[in-house]
């Protein structure tokens, strides 16, 4: 019988280690590019009872985006506000090291704010084949005709909790708990190998 082990893109990679940066699977132009090199500052905002609309409006004014109290991603050049549940918002910023302090000053007693920068790994997925890759693990409809840029969902992919949103036509962002980085990267590599996958890892946490 033929030895199929050489076709396993993850052969020889310990299951508890993040697969190294590089090319996996089919040769040629990669159908999917996965990058975790962007390490945004992240904070979770939970509006206190009755303040969800007010908190959404304040976040919108402060970050120059349209924020509503519903599932969705409001994206500007430096920051993103993602609705993850009623009155719950994840705020990402590339330029605000003290995001938690900024949000506390902005929202006062209207919301609870917690620092989450190292809690999650942000996966940037780009390429034509991203929806085909995600379809192998997602249970919700992520068809590009249905799940449009700016749409967001908190769901389960490959049995791992994920908050994801579509950034633009061929760009998707996924937040995964950091302890699942190795497992989730393995899912991405195994599922994306048939399209050719380029992986670029970031550094592990900010320390």
């Amino acid at each position: 019988m033929a030895d199929h082990s050489s076709h396993d893109p993850l052969a020889g990679i310990p299951f508890d280690r993040v697969p190294p940066s590089g090319r996996y699977g089919a040769a040629g132009e990669p159908g999917v590019t996965v990058s975790t090199t962007d390490t945004p500052f992240i904070a979770l905002v939970v509006a206190r009872n009755g303040f969800a609309a007010s908190v959404a409006a304040r976040l919108g004014r402060a970050f120059g985006v349209e924020v509503a109290d519903r599932a969705g991603a409001a994206i500007s050049a430096a920051s993103t506000v993602v609705g993850t549940g009623p009155g719950r918002f994840l705020v990402l910023s590339t330029i605000e090291p003290d995001l938690e302090g900024t949000l506390r000053a902005l929202l006062g007693a209207e919301a609870a704010v917690s620092e989450q920068s190292d809690a999650s790994v942000a996966f940037n997925l780009t390429g034509e084949k991203v929806p085909d890759l995600l379809a192998k693990g997602a249970l919700i409809d992520l068809d590009p005709r249905v799940f449009l840029p700016g749409h967001a969902a908190t769901t389960v992919i490959a049995h791992i909790g994920v908050t994801l949103w579509r950034v633009h036509e061929s760009g998707w962002r996924l937040l995964v708990a950091r302890s699942f980085e190795a497992s989730f990267t393995r899912f991405l590599v195994a599922s994306g190998a048939e399209f050719g996958l380029a992986l670029e890892n970031g550094t592990a946490g900010r320390g």
């Binding site: 599932a71 993850t84 549940g85 009623p86 719950r88 249970l139 919700i140 969902a153 769901t155 389960v156």
Partner: protein, 99 residues
């Protein structure tokens, strides 16, 4: 797989949810005034109907919120879902499983 409609997130797969027991069971305002039998009734005795059942569900792998559902315990059909705190919709058993 069952599709359950979270009142906040919309239609989602069953695996994102956890069951939360029978809905609309109010904790007694003054437990110390109850007999042991009444307290046991509050703690343990449930209606367990054949047919429509109002029950709590939690969208644990999504928005995290509890909500209520009317489910037919025979067909497993979810007749409707509604937010926690809202009254049980006035739907009788004959409309269950008809969709």
């Amino acid at each position: 797989m069952l599709i359950i409609t979270c009142p906040w997130c919309g239609a989602r797969p069953e695996v994102e949810f956890r069951y939360g027991g029978e809905a609309h069971i109010a904790r007694p305002a003054d437990p110390s005034a109850l007999t042991d039998a009444e307290w046991a009734d509050f703690l343990y005795n449930r209606t367990n109907p054949k047919g429509l059942h109002a029950e709590r569900w939690r969208h644990i792998h999504g928005c995290g919120r509890y909500f209520n559902a009317l489910r037919d315990t025979v067909s497993d059909f979810f007749v409707t879902t509604y937010k926690a705190g809202e009254k049980r919709p006035d739907i009788d058993a004959s409309s269950g499983g008809s969709k």
